[in-house]
Amino acid sequence: MNTLAVKKLAVSVLIVGTFILYALLHNSRSSAAPVALVPATPTSPGAAADTPAATDTGTGNATAAPSPTDTPSTRYKNGTYTGGVADAQWGLVQIKAIIKNGKIADVQWVQYPSDRERSVFINSIADPQLTQEAIQAQSAQVDIVTGATDSSFAFMQSLTDALSQAQA
């Protein structure tokens, strides 16, 4: 009986411990998501009022920097544009956009929190090597297209019709 009680206790501790661990991990991971979002959102709630959001203006070494959130067809001026510092709640971030041939070639972190324990943890999850860009239409010929499945009824009707016409 005594061993049973010990077992029960051990199982309880394990379950509670796992839950707490999960909750902590989940919380921190949820916080990691805005890492990708903050630089992309001019109206980010994480952006402090006294500092412009990273992509609002090119306050760095260039004037009249266009917003990377414009439509993909927008052509940008070549150069490197550093955004303002933005508060992402878990720390301050600052972004640099590199424009080549009128397109966003790269987006880099200028400032990224690593001083606090929690931020370090976020850093380890949110790989800083991940890069962002505004999507751009490509004109190169392709053999195959990957995309979310499109099987709405109207689409299938239209496709069926198109295929029947296409049959030689």
């Binding site: 790989d127 991940l130 999507i135 195959i144 979310a148 099987s151 709405s152 295929l163």
Partner: protein, 247 residues
């Protein structure tokens, strides 16, 4: 030789470049997809999976394929922290894993028949083998905001490419940990993996993770990903660039 048919509620295209390819070989691939549909379609009342869900069939009587799929689904559920789960409200819908598995099997059959240069594309999830006229196959990533456009062109050989998304069809993936909250942030997530089965199951699970999904793909050895969010921004994994076509 190329042929497209509408099966399993989506266009399926098979192209084989090997000169000795015959119509019969392509027909055999489509026949395989038809048999998979007969077994797994949740839209068909007579399918094995529908009869299982209605309680008319016991799992033991469902045949080897169904048991294989359930085992693979369970394995995927564990590997994705529960983000991949075929059971919702007691109903089992393995569509999320069957598609990639079927494409992978179809490609394997072509390979076993001695073919080298081909692809099998089912609704935008693709098994790519060999080359097209000596160059890698060119795979476009469709713009979820404008389906006439591609936003990336990949150069792919002997890989699987799969995209999960909400763009056109509406919500068909949900977060098992939070089923009632729609996934709106991420429009599409494309995954390149060692084969289409692996790419498809991890694309589906990672999509359900929202913005964090791309980090999940980043952590997977041998996989690369390209995530497009509702702000028309893309986030790619650190090795993704090596698949981007240089023109």
């Amino acid at each position: 030789m190329r042929e497209t048919r509408l099966l399993m509620g989506m266009p399926i295209t098979v192209e084989v470049r090997d000169p000795r390819a015959t119509r019969d070989d392509l027909a055999a691939v489509f026949a395989y997809f038809t048999s998979v549909d007969e077994t797994f379609s949740t839209y068909k009342a007579t399918s094995v999976i529908s009869r299982l869900n209605r309680g008319e069939l016991a799992l033991e009587d469902c045949g080897e394929e169904v048991r294989t799929i359930f085992a693979l689904a369970e394995q995927t559920r564990r590997e994705t922290h529960g983000y991949f789960d075929i059971t919702r409200d007691g109903i089992r819908d393995p569509s999320g894993i069957v598609k990639g598995w079927a494409i992978h099997n179809a490609a394997r059959r072509l390979r076993e028949a001695g073919y080298r240069d081909f692809y099998v594309d089912a609704g935008g999830d693709i098994a790519v083998s060999g080359t097209k006229d000596g160059a890698p196959w060119r795979v476009g990533i469709r713009n979820p905001l404008n389906r006439q456009q591609n936003v990336k062109v990949l150069a792919v050989t002997d890989r699987g490419v799969a995209t999960s998304g909400t763009a056109i069809r509406g919500q068909h993936i949900y977060n098992p940990h939070d089923p009632d909250t729609p996934l709106l942030d991420v429009l599409s997530l494309t995954v390149i993996g060692p084969n289409v089965y692996e790419a498809d199951r991890f694309a589906t699970a990672a999509f359900a993770m929202g913005q964090r999904g791309i980090h999940f793909i980043e952590e997977l050895p041998g996989f690369e990903g390209y995530l497009i969010d509702a702000r028309a921004r893309a986030t790619s994994t650190s090795g993704f660039e090596r698949y981007v076509l240089r023109v």
